[in-house]
Subunit: 340 residues, 2 copies
Amino acid sequence: MPRDPASTAPTLEEVAALAGVSRSTVSRVVNRSPHVTDEAVLAVEEAIGRLGYVPNRAARSLASRKTHVVALVVPESTAKVFADPFFASVVQGIALYLADTDYTLNLLIASETDSNKIKRYLLGGNVDGALVVSHHSGDHSFANIGQSLPVVFGGRPLLEDIVDSYYVDVDNAGGARAVTQHLIESGRRRIATITGPLDMPPGVDRLSGWLSAVRGADLPDDLIEQADFTLAEATAAMRRILDRDPDVDAVFAASDQMAAGALTALRERGRRVPEDVAVAGFDGDYFSETSSPPLTTISQPATELGAKMAEVLVELMAGREVRRVTMMPTELVVRASTGS
Amino acid sequence: MPRDPASTAPTLEEVAALAGVSRSTVSRVVNRSPHVTDEAVLAVEEAIGRLGYVPNRAARSLASRKTHVVALVVPESTAKVFADPFFASVVQGIALYLADTDYTLNLLIASETDSNKIKRYLLGGNVDGALVVSHHSGDHSFANIGQSLPVVFGGRPLLEDIVDSYYVDVDNAGGARAVTQHLIESGRRRIATITGPLDMPPGVDRLSGWLSAVRGADLPDDLIEQADFTLAEATAAMRRILDRDPDVDAVFAASDQMAAGALTALRERGRRVPEDVAVAGFDGDYFSETSSPPLTTISQPATELGAKMAEVLVELMAGREVRRVTMMPTELVVRASTGS
DNA sequence: CTGAAAGCGCTAACAC
DNA sequence: GTGTTAGCGCTTTCAG
């Protein structure tokens, strides 16, 4: 049986004794207070090294009234999409950033039915701040806790009125515009789009990016079909597009998975990609790399977005000024699906 | 600016005052001590509800010398495969189970290069136990900390010698045997397998399940090609199989993703599925549902596995006896890829 | 620049 | 069964 590690852990007091100073001084050294003599610092560090002293988090937070813990709140619906590679990278970015600070990450899955439990936990003084990943839904039901606790969201809020929340988002509109632009520049004229749900920010924003590009080029903006980010629905949407206009020569799908669905529909209708129809996606995920042909897409800086979220939160917790909105740039990745 | 939440959080003392009892009694109620009158319990719970009281973790752990924190250690390589739907569900299962206990989950991404940092953290008295998800690699490099801290692994260890670690695993061999059996029962005689890497437990175990089934039926066991769980390599493996024996009439791929790759290769060689060749996978993930035809596969109880890991750890931390090895059953899901 | 003293909010004996 | 009394290990005024 494991033995109790605490019973063996050296305390600040022992360090003080060994270093021949008071506990206060040790505390100051540990917390990097500037008002300590170099000699004292040295003696204390020496003692800390010899004893292998590690501060006790609990005692520290009890006394300082700071937990040094940040919550990572994942709405359960998002958790199902946990498999979403994008989401996974965001989490990784968060964790890696925080690993270099002395904050600790608390993973919370917020069941939709009982989000109050989480709210109570968050407001119960158990964490210094929270990160909410609701990328897909734009659900900011935790927005109101932002008034009592520093909170940073991943993805912009669904409701424009919740303007007072901090969030980091990918430039969905800009990316969609850029990839559509690419379609236009490679000579396509009849460009369709398969959108995500229009009650989700990424759905709306990617559509608006497409709109701005086709309108800017004086091309028709009527070939719009909605789907739900899944391959199956996108396949159906692509069929509808082909029915509506057999002459379509390009399609921008708001996600790579949907672009893969479009590929399926095009194949079944005997259209060649990219000769007859160019296909572009969004996300830069697994699907875009493995489909045949590989997809031109907009890749998102997922890890960086996560790191940025954490960074903004850390600033917020330190009481520093931060911009409420941070947009992460996207990158156009050109592959075979839009031309040779 | 957010105001300090701690200044506002009700304390145990206030609950005691409101309920008209002492702090000890409140503490007992909160900790579900059996030695309290029903009336007292009621009064305290009433007060807790009215005040929205949440115990302060720091104070609690300082006094009890328990952190009530469990670490979820994710090797960085696994984190990249974070997108793995299986892994995602495991994490969800862990989080949901723990949500009903009063343990808190600490997410740690262990960089391969500096696992000592994590070890120090774990051994520094910051957590009461750890969960290590290393499902794919079978890497139990954290095995030795199991001597000083309760640790439960997801997936069996790669090295048989590390028999003293606790782990929960899916019955890979059993599942592989079952699905191969199904192939045999539906009349297939020339059955190939595409394996995962043979330095990963799931790779080895699924191969051994296939072996046991074909040998048990006195069928040839030579049609084995190795891949690495990815679609691309599996496509190549399937081509090699077709080259080696054009008469192959079934293939068991050790993952759905690989089965999808097999489908691609079969299609390009003009083989019909399931008429000419039956295809079966393993995992029961997204790929098995969306490929065409949908795949017969072995679905894994991912969420349950996560919950079980958490449960075993909780028992361990409570000092109770637990079996070192827990096997989770799998389920055969029959779809179009192996017959009408 | 450093030490002494007073808790942070809770649990854990120990009496009652 | 319940209250009282001490701390848990650290930070933080406040003197010096």
